[in-house]
């Protein structure tokens, strides 16, 4: 009798876990699935009611001809959208390069040298991550206006670098903490110069951290709205700022398509990161 009870309980708890897991993932992924599904919805007026499958929204984004003609339904101009994507890519690639170099060098300095007020400097490096985006955005705006820099791509790049270097710093520091420092001594002992040691031992060993930090910086830069919103000039709208502008004039079906493409893009970047990590830990 007791045995049957135990077995039933075990089975029930297993089922409960399964149901819980399904609910958990549904909670996280349902909104994204809905966006992707409706990006193929042919109904131009009411997004929430399904009226057939179409690629039209994707076609509009890329400026290809569609059956639909009602002007008001579409992105004002494809050119604006491609400009925004272009700006985002320029900003993301530049900031990723700059902040990866700065963040990695800072992490190396913090890990390798002892100096006065080290903890204080470490906090200084962390700070931009902790400060609320909106505060950082306003502060940067006031700063740029005060020193008389014209808002544009350059100000966005400078603004992004201020906090993305911190992210790279943290990821690379974690990797450095797990690295055997006597490897560097062994390299010097065997006759390598400081540069050779960095090039042949230190850099290969921290490379997974550097690449992970760079990918993280790239995704955050592509994605940033709040700070960019303040410091972007009129001609330097990035993709998130552009989408936000579209939303203010009402939710249009193309947004679903743009969002789906962004999800896909982020997945590609994340898989790249995971692939690289598994390759280096093998």
């Amino acid at each position: 009798m007791r045995e049957i009870f135990d077995r039933t309980m075990r089975r029930a708890s297993r089922h409960a876990l399964l149901v819980y897991s399904i609910l958990f993932f549904a909670f996280i992924y349902a909104p994204m699935m809905i966006i992707i599904v409706y990006s193929f919805n042919a109904n131009p007026v009411n997004m929430m009611s399904w009226s057939g499958f179409t690629f039209d929204w994707y076609r509009t984004i890329f400026g290809l001809g569609t059956k639909l003609t009602e002007q008001t339904m579409y992105v004002e101009s494809t050119e604006q959208l491609t400009n925004a994507v272009g700006h985002s890519l320029i900003v993301a690639l530049t900031t990723t390069t700059i902040s990866t170099v700065i963040g990695t060098l800072t992490a190396l300095a913090m890990a390798r040298f002892g100096f006065r007020l080290k903890t204080f400097y470490r906090v200084l490096v962390f700070m931009p991550m902790i400060i609320p985006d909106i505060v950082l955005g306003i502060a940067l705006l006031i700063y740029f206006v005060t020193i008389g820099v014209k808002l544009g791509l350059v100000t966005i790049i400078i603004g992004h670098c201020t906090f993305l270097a911190s992210y790279v710093f943290i990821v690379v520091s974690a990797r450095l903490a797990g690295m055997d420092q006597t490897c560097e001594e062994a390299s010097a002992d065997l006759g390598a110069s400081a540069y050779q040691t960095f090039r042949r031992v230190t850099l290969p060993l921290i490379l997974p951290g550097v690449i992970g930090g760079a990918l993280l910086a790239f995704i955050i830069s592509m994605d940033d709205l709040v700070i960019t919103y303040f410091i972007a000039g009129v001609d330097s709208t990035t993709l998130p700022v552009f989408i936000y502008g579209m939303l203010r004039r009402g939710i249009k079906p193309e947004i679903n398509a743009i969002a789906s493409l962004m999800i896909f893009f982020s997945l590609v970047i994340a898989s790249l990161g995971l692939w690289f990590r598994s390759r280096s830990s093998r």
Binding site: D180, T182, C183, E185, A186, S187, A188, D189, L190, G191, A192, S193, Q196, R200, V201, P204, L205
Partner: protein, 367 residues
């Protein structure tokens, strides 16, 4: 030849005090000598090794290698190589690349590099492992890679920082012999750091006993074992019974009366003093069981009550108490293995020793 003169090194602790890691250490190492720096952890032996390899800057003193001053030369410009305690193999490079690293960074042409890598791999018994990654090797094999990597540059001196401490006992003992053979084959000097006195006695041409940053004694293994210069050396190298007390002459024989009132008889020799406070060392293996009570020439006897008899492999170890409460240890060989039954806890024994076995040491000034 390495010549270290008057090496001093101080460290500041976070608490604000100063630690003297090296206190005017002077040492000469011969061209083909196997020399061991022996001492407890934190005694300064690793600091001394690292100042030879160039990773520690001396506060005072001079280090010469082959007549060239090396005191402030950076590590990558010194004709020495190191086998690190944790091996410090490059995890991203194969065994072959690890071993060839030193040749590669110093610009050795690939053909010669391959040949020399092959030679040292054969020397340390790693043929066929060239393409393996370090993490795919056992501890003993990693140790061999570290050794091969350090000798491929043909250094004048090889420094070894407790390289065997991570290996199990059997492997360690076979590596001890192998290291000795490799040193012989290469014909270069080895400076070996260890805290294991057995290892030091087994491998070295000379042992440097270090404590609290200062050299306590330099000598061959038998010298250090048989004629320890201080109580520290006597305690650290081998086991010993130490009796502290007052020396006095009784007619023609020298005696030590311990503070507990036990009389220890010993013979005079040119190294011993005749009076004053002193410590007398008798090694456990210097004792024999004396079943008779007939006096034998040049021997003396200590009577004791047995506390414990332990079989430790080849020998029996007897722990006993001399009248007056002094503990004493004796190592007795008994091939018939009946000793444990005959000498049980509580029984009284007579421990006989040759009069020239005890060593007279200066009393410990720090006590």
């Amino acid at each position: 030849m390495i010549s270290i003169r008057n090496a001093c090194k101080r460290f500041n602790t976070p608490e604000g005090s100063v630690v003297h890691a090296l206190q005017s250490v002077s040492l000469e190492v011969g061209n083909t000598e196997f020399i061991t720096l022996l001492g407890p952890s934190g005694c300064g032996k690793t600091t001394l090794l690292r100042s030879v390899s160039g990773f520690e800057d001396l506060d005072e003193g001079v280090i010469d290698i082959d007549g060239q001053e090396m005191t402030h030369v950076p590590p990558n410009k010194r004709p020495v190589n190191t086998v690190f305690q944790n091996y410090a193999l490059f995890p991203h490079l194969s065994v072959g690349k690890n071993i060839g690293y030193g040749l590669e960074v110093t610009g050795c042409p690939p053909a010669e590099r391959n040949q020399r890598v092959g030679e040292v791999m054969e020397l340390v018994g790693l043929e066929g492992y060239e393409r393996r990654m370090p993490r795919q090797l056992s501890g003993g094999q990693q140790q061999r890679v570290a050794l091969a990597r350090a000798i491929v540059n043909r250094p004048r001196v090889l420094l070894l920082d407790e390289p065997l401490s991570a290996l199990d006992r059997k492997l360690r003992e076979s590596m001890q012999l192998e290291l000795k053979n490799i040193q012989h084959e290469l014909g270069i000097a080895f400076v070996f750091v260890t805290h294991d006195q057995q290892e030091a006695l087994t491998m070295s041409d000379r042992i440097v006993v270090i404590d609290q940053g200062a050299v306590q004694q330099i000598g061959s293994p038998t010298e250090v074992y048989d004629w320890p210069a201080s109580i520290f050396v006597a305690r650290f190298v081998g086991e010993g019974n130490l009796f502290e007390g007052e020396l006095y002459m009784d007619g023609v024989t020298l005696h030590l009366r311990t503070d507990q009132g036990v009389e220890v008889q010993l013979s005079e020799n040119d190294k011993s003093r005749r009076s004053g406070r002193a410590v007398v060392l008798i090694r456990p293996e210097d004792f024999q069981l004396d079943p008779t009570s007939e006096p034998i020439a040049d021997h003396a006897v200590l009577e004791a009550e047995v506390t414990q008899t332990i079989f430790v492999g080849t020998d029996f170890q007897i722990v006993a108490t001399i009248d007056g409460g002094l503990p004493i240890k004796a190592t007795i060989r008994d091939p018939s293995r009946t000793l444990a039954r005959e000498v049980q806890s509580g029984s009284r024994i007579r421990l006989r020793y040759r009069l020239d076995a005890p060593r007279v040491l200066p009393p410990d000034s720090s006590d």
